[in-house]
């Protein structure tokens, strides 16, 4: 028995595979007298005792939040009601109704070519595996690509229960932006606004490039798989001054409501106590609240259940608004 045979047998036995006892004894006897095999066994044991990668807890929590929301939305979808389907369940994606647009600047185009070339080269390197993958499309995998399970709706206009669904929001830092639609080719120069972490209603949350159209800071172009989507900053005015909605919780998937910053205790009464006190009304007539002894110039809160058409309409929680620069 040579080194290869001995170590392959020991490797299989290590994985709990059935191995002929006689062959295994021969393999062990060989390894006991062979420095190379001894080294192999040492690494084999070390790999087995090394800690395996662990999924970050925040990732597991995020998956729980997303699938929990999908589960709740799916349950609501079983009960016919009048409100529109939650955007988080829409499988008709924003890009589906939009012609694809080619808008990247030349530098971005070059980058795309480079990335594509890299991907192709890698796929070429992976040729055998990719081929196998094509063969291994099982019945279960077919099912994965087939119809959604019961309770999950395909159409955006399906009836659904519950309070109004959140508009399709994204957040940049803490600022909140609401979808306006797909972008035509931007006519102005896009200025990088940073990265927005969002699913864009496509199921996969990841960081995406976002841009301002020139000097305009009221609109945000977010680059998805099918092109740009335009988002508009959610604002209201008070005394002619514009305030923007902010959120403590990053809005990483459509179907999430902006949340009150954690520095404020959640109000327990309609007058805002214990965190807030009434401070008048904004230009639309919505009552605003400030921290005790505070000033609206520093920002204000708005209670739930604002009137239809209000920029916070439908949000079941309190919202916080800060003056725009």
């Amino acid at each position: 028995m040579d080194c290869m045979q001995a170590c392959e047998i020991i490797s299989a036995a290590h994985d709990g595979e059935p191995v002929d006892a006689g062959l295994l004894a021969q393999a062990r006897a060989h390894a006991d007298a062979c420095a190379d095999c001894a080294l192999f066994l040492r690494v084999l044991d070390r790999i087995a005792s090394a800690p395996d990668p662990e999924a970050p807890p925040e990732l597991v929590a995020r998956i729980g939040e997303i699938t929990g929301q999908m589960s709740r939305d799916a349950r609501h979808a079983d009960a016919p009601r009048e409100a529109p389907a939650p955007s988080s369940l829409r499988t008709r994606r924003p890009f589906d109704w939009v012609p694809r647009i080619a808008i990247l600047a030349s530098a971005a185009a070059v980058l795309l070519v480079v990335v594509s070339a890299g991907g192709l080269a890698l796929l070429s390197r992976m040729g055998q595996t990719a081929q196998e993958a094509a063969v291994t499309e099982s019945a279960e995998d077919e099912a994965l690509r087939a119809a959604p399970p019961a309770g999950v709706t395909e159409e955006a206009d399906s009836p659904v229960a519950g309070a109004a669904a959140p508009p399709d929001y994204v957040s940049l830092d803490e600022s909140v932006w609401m979808i306006e639609g797909a972008a035509d080719t931007p006519t102005s120069t896009l200025v990088s606004a940073g990265l927005v972490r969002t699913s864009l209603g496509e199921g996969l949350t990841r960081s995406r490039n976002a841009f301002y159209p020139g000097d305009d800071r009221s609109a945000l172009y977010v680059l998805g798989d099918g092109g740009y989507l335009v988002f508009r900053r959610v604002t209201r005015t008070l005394g002619g001054v514009e305030y923007g909605l902010v959120t403590e919780t990053p809005l990483e998937a459509f179907g999430m409501w902006p949340s009150l910053p954690g520095r404020f205790a959640a109000p327990v009464t309609a007058d805002g106590s214990p965190a807030f006190e009434p401070a008048g009304r904004d230009d639309r007539g919505a009552e605003v609240f400030v921290p005790l002894g505070g000033d609206t110039a520093d920002g204000f809160a708005v209670a739930p259940d604002t009137a239809p058409g209000d920029p916070a309409a439908g949000n079941p929680g309190w919202t916080w608004w800060e003056p725009l620069p």
Binding site: D2, M4, E8, S11, A12, D15, G16, E17, C34, A35, D36, C37, L39, F40, R42, V43, L44, R46, I47, A50, P51, D52, P53, E54, A55, P56, L59, V60, I63, G64, T67, G68, M70, S71, R75, V115, S116, G118, G119, L122, L123, R125, M126, T129, A130, E132, A133, V135, T136, E140, D141, A143, L144, P148, P149, A150, L204, T205, R206, D225
Partner: protein
């Protein structure tokens, strides 16, 4: 009252019927394997996190199609394998290959250090051929038998056996330098 653990099929059926705790249990039990496989596949954490999230969203949407003929871990492995490949095919992510020539064997002290060794092992995985990495992940992270891995990958059982062995042989050559320098036999040609 003694409660017995739910079978894979019972757990999947419970999750499919809307039991959030059942699905959470599936995520909890398998997140490390899915993430670990994706991390070794792509070589970077961001891609691994995106893949893991996509895997479980896909599983959530299709859990009702799980029929219990295979183990849940086999099914999850197959979904993970396909999601990773789909991400590459779509050009959304590119695995980061590691050149074995840039890899130095670990000194004995580092070899014994869990943190250093795990990090080196992760890097060394990047030098493996994708099919070797795949087979090794199926067996060591998802706990599949060679036969289960073979069925999931659509290759003969012997192919899985040899890929797992080749992967380990390559890792051994990279991670621990033979006493007295390079040798022949097992380490030749790696």
């Amino acid at each position: 009252m003694v409660t017995r653990p739910m079978s894979d099929l019972e757990l999947a059926n419970a999750a499919a019927s809307g039991d959030e705790s059942a699905f959470a249990a599936i995520v909890r039990e398998n997140a490390d394997a899915v993430y670990g496989h994706a991390l070794r596949f792509f070589g970077d954490r961001t891609s691994a996190e995106d893949a893991t999230q996509e895997v479980f969203i896909k599983v959530f949407r299709t859990i009702s199609s799980f029929d219990g003929r295979a183990r849940l871990s086999t099914w999850l492995y197959r979904v993970t394998h396909n999601v990773c490949l789909d991400m590459v095919r779509a050009g959304r992510r590119t695995p980061q290959p590691v050149d074995p020539l840039t890899f130095d064997p670990l000194p004995a002290a580092d070899f014994a250090d869990d943190v250093v060794f795990a990090s080196a092992l992760g890097q060394a995985m990047g030098t493996l051929a994708p099919e070797e990495r795949d087979a090794l992940g199926a067996v060591t992270l998802f706990g599949l038998s060679y036969q289960e891995a073979a069925e999931a990958l659509g290759v003969p059982t012997g192919t899985v056996k040899s890929r797992v062995f080749r992967a380990r042989r390559a890792l051994a050559a990279l991670l621990l330098e033979p006493e007295g320098g390079a040798s022949d036999g097992l380490h030749a040609g790696v």
